[in-house]
């Protein structure tokens, strides 16, 4: 039993890292632009389906590079045409818009690729277990963790060591002042949105290798991402990462003792965090009111 619990904790970290990848993009957009992007799951599904379409031509590795970029490009267009006019207004408008977009995305995917799931294949070299004892540690999962680490590392490097990152961080704290100092916040928001959607596309390609690829793949993954952000704390990317890992582990451990509550436990955790520490584990004080 101890072994099963330990295995599930370890496994929960892997699953949690994946939640975190999706949540990070969401968190990035939320922090700077104040848009609660409900269409994030739609972008994720789009990234996955684009990869599925591209694999026969450019292979898995080519698709892994191209699909998130294409998704981000579409994200930039949508940001420019639909989301930009709503900046500065009531955040509910952005929420309603992206909420509608999520439905449109899901049905568009169904229209283009069909309601039934499609077979998404990853290279054979990734699909085997690395160890008979730790059978849940497959090549694909290790690879996924490596990508998550690289993506998170890259994101932190951009945010902390580049001019763009500095502006995004400054804008997250006080966009008005950043704007007054002569930074083109339109471009800043666009780039930030693009990076967030890139992360969604990347998470989509990775998810399709792990799960069945159907039009609902985004919808089923978006709620854990929101929970990760709330648990980790609004405004903190590190918190989002921590939130993702925590809900992954909590679900894993719950599966051992009370399997039918594996989903509910995420929301219970969210409720507890909101009661005890409303700003989230690493959230900034003052951001939450």
């Amino acid at each position: 039993m101890t072994q099963v619990v330990l295995f599930n904790i370890f496994n929960g970290l892997i699953v949690g890292a994946f939640y975190a990848l999706m949540a990070l993009g969401l968190s990035l957009i939320l922090n700077l632009s104040g848009v609660i992007n409900f269409a994030h799951g739609g972008f994720l599904a789009l990234g996955a389906y684009l990869a599925y379409t591209l694999i026969p031509y450019v292979g898995f590795w080519g698709a892994l590079i191209a699909a998130p970029l294409l998704t981000a490009a579409l994200g930039l267009v949508i940001e420019r045409v639909l989301i930009r006019p709503l900046y500065g207004g009531d955040p509910l408008y952005g929420l309603l818009l992206t909420f509608g977009l999520a439905y449109i995305f899901e049905d568009m995917t169904r229209f283009v690729w069909g309601a039934q799931s499609v077979p998404f294949q990853v290279p054979a070299s990734l699909t085997t277990s690395l160890s008979s004892q730790f059978f849940f540690l497959t090549g694909y999962r290790v690879f996924m963790i490596a990508i998550v680490v690289a993506a998170v590392g890259g994101l932190f490097a951009i945010l902390n060591h580049t001019r763009l990152g500095m502006r995004i961080r400054a804008g997250t704290r006080d966009l008005d002042t950043v704007s007054t100092l002569g930074v083109n916040i339109r471009v800043l928001r666009s780039l930030n949105f693009g990076i967030g959607i890139y992360m969604a596309g990347l998470a989509g390609v990775l998810a399709a290798g792990l799960l069945g690829l159907s039009p609902t793949i985004g919808a089923s993954l978006i709620m854990p991402s929101f929970v990760a952000i709330i648990v980790g704390g609004l405004g903190s990317l590190l918190g989002t990462l921590l939130g993702g890992l925590l809900i992954g582990v909590a679900s894993g451990v719950t599966a051992v003792y009370f399997p039918s509550a594996t989903e509910a436990v995420m929301y219970v955790m969210m409720g507890l965090v909101l009661l005890v520490r409303p700003r989230g584990l690493l959230g900034e004080e003052g951001r939450l009111h």
């Binding site: 099963v4 008979s132 849940f136």
Partner: protein, 419 residues
């Protein structure tokens, strides 16, 4: 920190509220209505077009449309044209399904109600159809109660009961792979009755349940359950989840290499998830309720061709469920020479369907006193590659439904008819 006006001030409350909105919006969903002719006979289909069961739901819809075209080409029902009114029931929201059923009956004035893929939704809809006295065909919701403890005079079911599926496969699994079963079961009425059915059928043959998990519908991650299952050292891991959940579970099990350590099986498999799996994950022993590759069985090849022409793919059991359900409406009305629900329901007691609709090796009929369709069950193994690109299942045994259906008394159905 001062609040920035241009950011719009998103806070935790907005985020939590938006989560609630997302949850509430599951109730609202798009719907489709066809143009109506004044004198048409109307069939209302209240089935999933979105969510986990959108795939099977859409295939049932294709079957309904194929039957509809054929019926209209033959002069309609009682000489009147037939229309299909389609509503999206969602995949898991009983409130939405019931609301749509009421809408179909009360404002669209349908003569027949069809649905639902989800057993819980089918049960909820059956209460409405019974209250309104409308003939109701359940194409593909399997839980026993529909034609068992909750049976109604007006509700007919096309797919098998979960107990029939369990009875069809339990013996083969125990004989070929061992007695210790671990269950991964979806946590709603279909899963509960399917597991209970298999535990009962296997128990009678010396089988033992060494453990099991009830998993929430729509689960994404199955790895934690698989780790637990492996830890219990079973002979067979039984997957009772369906749709996308089946896909996620099997894909992850095969990535873990579990198929090399224990046997993977289940009591119900469908072509839809097998088509969505990469070839290496098409493994395990299962029951199919209808299969397109039935050499020598009359009319099956024509049906396969007609479906391919319409959709580009072979029909699945779901296509056949939809097709047979819609044809049932036509036969009920023609036999009763009336659209009165009680007359049609009486005409269907023990009604045998003609071979061009039955599409199977054994007689296909609605059992009197229970309203359950009795057909064939196909036991076999999923395969990576078969005789054709869509041949993903190797049938090893065809079971006559009559042999595994038990008696009407055993089903628990006590039917009462309106005075």
């Amino acid at each position: 920190m001062p609040k920035s006006t241009s950011r719009g001030g998103v806070d935790r409350r907005s985020l939590v509220k938006s989560g609630l909105i997302l949850a509430a919006a599951q109730v609202a969903s798009p719907f489709v209505i066809r143009a109506r002719a004044a004198d048409a006979v109307r069939i209302g289909l209240d089935n999933p077009l979105t969510g986990t069961y959108a795939g099977p739901g859409k295939n049932e819809l294709v079957g309904c449309q194929m039957a509809l075209d054929a019926i209209n080409a033959k002069g309609g029902i009682l000489g009147r044209p037939v229309e299909l009114v389609v509503e999206d029931s969602t995949s898991g929201d009983a409130g939405a399904a019931v609301q749509k059923a009421r809408k179909l009956i009360e404002s669209d004035k349908v003569d027949f109600l069809l649905g639902n893929v989800n057993s819980s939704l089918a049960l909820a809809m059956a209460q409405v159809s019974n209250e309104k006295g409308v003939l109701h065909i359940v194409p593909g919701g399997h839980t026993d109660a529909i034609t068992g403890s909750s049976c109604h005079w007006n509700v007919f079911r096309v797919c098998n009961t979960t107990q029939m599926e369990a009875n069809a496969i339990a013996g083969s699994l125990i004989k070929d792979y061992g007695k210790k079963f671990y269950y991964i079961t979806p946590d709603y009425s279909f899963g509960h009755t399917l597991e209970a059915g298999l535990v009962k059928a296997a128990g009678a043959l010396g089988g033992e349940k060494v453990g099991g998990d009830l998993v929430p519908l729509g689960s994404v991650d199955f790895s934690s359950y698989l780790i637990k299952a492996q830890g219990m050292n079973p002979d067979v891991i039984i997957f009772l989840v369906q749709g996308d959940d089946m896909l996620n579970a099997l894909k992850q099990a095969v990535q873990f290499g579990l198929q090399n350590k224990v046997h993977l099986a289940g009591a119900q498999q469908e072509l839809e998830p097998l088509e969505g799996l990469p070839p290496e994950a098409r493994v395990g022993t299962w029951v199919m309720e209808w299969y397109w590759n039935q050499p020598g069985v009359p009319h099956v090849a024509e049906f396969v061709e007609a479906t391919k022409k319409r959709t580009g793919r072979v029909p699945t059991a779901r296509t056949w469920f939809g097709y047979l359900s819609t044809w049932t409406c036509a036969h009920a009305a023609e036999s009763a020479k009336s659209l009165k629900a009680t007359d049609m329901a009486r005409a269907l007691q023990g009604f045998h369907l003609p071979p061009e609709i039955a599409l199977g090796p054994n007689p296909v009929f609605y059992r009197a006193g229970q309203n359950q369709l009795i057909a064939s069950l196909f036991v076999g193994d999923a395969q990576a590659k078969g005789s054709a690109p869509d041949d993903l299942f190797k049938v090893t045994k065809v079971v006559n439904g009559a042999d595994v259906a038990g008696t009407v008394e055993q089903s628990g159905c006590k039917m009462t008819w309106p005075a």
